[in-house]
């Protein structure tokens, strides 16, 4: 056992509620995963301190993500009275933090269920004053979930070998909204409380996570949607141009931009 191997095991235990549960229940097979000596050292750590530290770290982990990825919803707190951060101080939130697997899709999905409940239950009075509210919540929820989605090749099993053709990342989500949420956000960031009804217009956004875990949303007109849906790892640039009804230079430029935001892997 080295300091490095022990610390690796400690980080894994702190970040994974399932492993912590196995440690607490004296699962004899856990040594196979963590290393037998590492397992012995970690078994000697007082369980309550380990659990406290893990909950503390999980709370910070998800608080940071809620603040960053629900910032527009949170900027309306004084009008709506709904702050997604509040779920982290509920008993359901505490329970989730205790079994959280940091960075996992499953934990993000479970937390998002709590957040969406907090934001949209009995929200009639909010939607009267802010008719784009539900779309704003859907937009921020999608950002939150994409952040926890693997960016590996979504079509790896469909395209063995790859052949060098661009392939859609597993993190890509296309969101269809009734409101032009990017413009809505720009309006209330500029301090405008009354959002023009003209912004109620069908809007599609493509959301992806880069390899540096940065989540980006861009507008997704039909041509980009067709292009992204054709990125199967087998289709070359000329065929992509034909499928998306764009020119080859346009497709090449778009592929560069999509790669930059993590929509292509």
């Amino acid at each position: 056992m080295t300091g490095r191997s022990l610390h690796d095991a400690l980080l894994q235990v702190l970040g994974d509620g399932v492993i912590r549960s196995r440690l607490a229940s004296h699962d004899p097979h856990l040594g196979t995963l963590l290393g037998s000596e590492e397992h012995e050292v970690l078994r000697r750590v007082p369980g309550d301190r380990l659990q406290r530290m893990a909950r503390f770290l999980a709370r910070h982990y998800y608080r940071e993500r809620i603040v960053r990825l629900f910032r527009h919803v949170r900027s309306l707190v004084s009008h709506t009275g709904r702050d997604p951060l509040a779920v982290l101080t509920t008993s359901a939130g505490d329970e989730l933090l205790d079994r959280a697997v940091l960075g996992s899709f499953e934990t993000a999905r479970a937390l998002l269920d709590l957040i969406e409940g907090c934001l949209t239950d009995q929200d009639d009075s909010i939607t009267q004053g802010h008719p784009y509210w539900r779309d704003l919540v859907r937009y921020q929820a999608a950002m939150f979930l994409v952040e926890a989605t693997s960016s590996t090749n979504a079509l790896a099993t469909e395209a063995p070998g790859g052949g060098g053709a661009p392939s859609r990342s597993g993190s890509v989500t296309i969101l269809d909204l009734d409101w032009d949420i990017p413009s809505v956000v720009a309006q209330f960031r500029a301090g405008h409380q009354a959002i023009p009804m003209s912004l109620r217009t069908p809007t599609s956004l493509l959301i992806a996570r880069s390899r540096h875990h940065r989540v980006t949303a861009i507008r997704c007109p039909d041509a980009i949607r067709r292009l992204v849906e054709s990125l199967d790892g087998r289709t070359g640039v000329e065929a992509l141009a034909e499928a998306s009804r764009l020119s080859v230079p346009q497709v090449e430029r778009l592929l560069d931009q999509l790669k930059e935001i993590g929509a292509i892997c």
């Binding site: 300091g3 750590v45 530290m53 960075g103 499953e106």
Partner: protein
């Protein structure tokens, strides 16, 4: 001793207050890159000495070219006289394949202070410092979880780290107070064990009870007299000290707390008369 600069972290939501009281801030520490939509950023950049305190990477591992390029770009943008990084370890060497996603804590967390990790930190910090071309200061993190293994003390680890890597020390007095608290030591005694001769910057902030930890932890609040006394003691033993920073960085930080914090530093460490 060179003149001490007294400053604070740059909290973008308080930019108007900072600009209005610019004479109070000798420097601003940058925990995050500036937001492209921050209207105050050009004036902040022109007006203040900026210190690079962003998360640059985990120095128990070698830095990749992306990390070095990003750090150099931030350094150039800020014209920072030194860079700082935490002595932390927040992700394992490699993912555990049998479990879920690769763990990354996203919050400062100390390593274990063993010989193998000491050698790795020294090697990687030395290489990174040479690539940056400016002094690199390391800031230790308080230990809440103590593991029952043979390891160096935090100060002994830092002595050998600074000597071996040529790096400086960035010491947060609240961290020292917490390390002492959770190790059952007297803060003043522990403080004097650190390699203060290598200290280039001090951080001063407060602690508050954390319900998860059921004890005190770092918080964006004003330092109490104990922390300020520790800072004063550190200053006396740190001949290369260049700056003291009120370490409060939070979107919830109020302008009153920020100004009171920098005010406390001026009361204790400002030029008298």
């Amino acid at each position: 001793m060179p003149p001490l600069s007294l400053g604070a972290f740059y909290n973008p939501h308080l930019a108007p207050v900072i600009l209005n009281k610019a004479e109070s801030f000798g420097h601003l520490a940058m925990a995050d890159p500036p937001d492209r939509q921050d209207p105050a950023w050009p004036r902040i950049r022109d007006r203040f000495t900026l210190l690079l305190h962003d998360y640059l990477g985990q120095l128990s591992e070698p830095f990749g070219s992306d990390e070095v390029t990003r750090a150099r770009a931030l350094l150039d943008q800020y014209r920072s006289p030194w860079a700082a990084e935490h002595l932390q370890r927040i992700r394992p060497s490699s993912p555990f394949p049998a479990t879920g996603p690769a763990v990354q804590l996203d919050y400062v967390f100390p390593p274990v202070y063993t010989e193998d990790l000491l050698a790795d930190y020294i090697r990687h910090a030395k290489a990174f410092r040479e690539q940056l071309g400016v002094p690199l200061a390391m800031e230790p993190i308080p230990t809440y979880l103590h593991l029952d293994i043979a390891q160096l003390s935090e100060p002994a680890f830092l002595h050998r780290f600074c000597d071996g890597s040529g790096c400086h020390l960035l010491l947060d007095l609240a961290h020292v107070w917490l390390s002492a608290r959770y190790a059952g030591l007297r803060p003043r005694d522990l403080l004097l064990e650190y390699p203060l001769r290598h200290a280039i910057e001090l951080h001063v902030a407060g602690c508050a009870r954390d319900p998860d930890l059921d004890g005190p932890w770092i918080a964006p609040v004003l330092p109490d007299q104990d922390i300020l006394d520790l800072a004063e003691l550190a200053v006396k033993h740190a001949p290369e000290l260049r700056a003291i920073t009120f370490d409060a960085f939070s979107p919830l930080l109020s302008s009153e707390t920020l100004l009171a914090g920098i005010g406390l530093l001026h009361e204790r460490f400002g030029v008298k008369g």
